[in-house]
Amino acid sequence: MHLHRYEKIWIIFGTGALLAFLIILGIGAFYQGSQPPSCMVTIDPQNVQAHEAFKEENLGLNQVGENEYVVNILASAFNYDLGKDENGAPVKTIRIPAGAKVTFQATTSDVIHGFELAGTNVNMMLEPGYISEYETTMDNPGTYTLICNEYCGTGHHLMYATVEVYEE
């Protein structure tokens, strides 16, 4: 088969790009251990409290190391449950020091919800029956809004919380 010289150039470029993307994907998945936020970890959506992380007292911000935090969030229409403060009022804002390693662990007890910390790479889908997890380092101080980006019903737009990353 005869091919024009230019055709050979762009076929090589196209094939090369495909190979480059597949190799990057392979390194990410098999060497660096990247995985989707919801990766086969299941939970009973009717009884999420049975899971240690989603017990009433464990919801919200938990410090697990010197500069390491775990945030447990239970989403439901139309609220992110981040636990209660000392006065028994629901927590709507959590504060994390800049540079801390944070693991967001979330699930939903009803329908599919979104979990996007706008302006950061934290963005995942919460599906009933699965636990979604995202580990990140909050390097940039600022106020970030946690929003639901999967339409979940009439109160969808009321579903948000705030994460403040402060400089120590």
Binding site: H4, Y6, E7, W10, F13, A17, T120, N121, N140
Partner: protein
């Protein structure tokens, strides 16, 4: 191909079509892909 059939000749370099413009267009697409890929990657790394 139509021309080659008509004259009864098989295609050879003398009758090769001029693909210079196509080459330039393809390279524009390539540049767009590369720039946007690195742009998105930069955003991912920065935040």
């Amino acid at each position: 191909m139509y021309m080659a059939k008509q004259t009864g000749k098989t295609s050879n370099s003398a009758h090769e079509p001029n693909l210079k413009g196509t080459m330039v267009a393809v390279m524009f697409v390539a540049a767009f892909l590369i720039i946007s890929w690195f742009g998105v990657w930069g955003i991912f790394i920065a935040r």
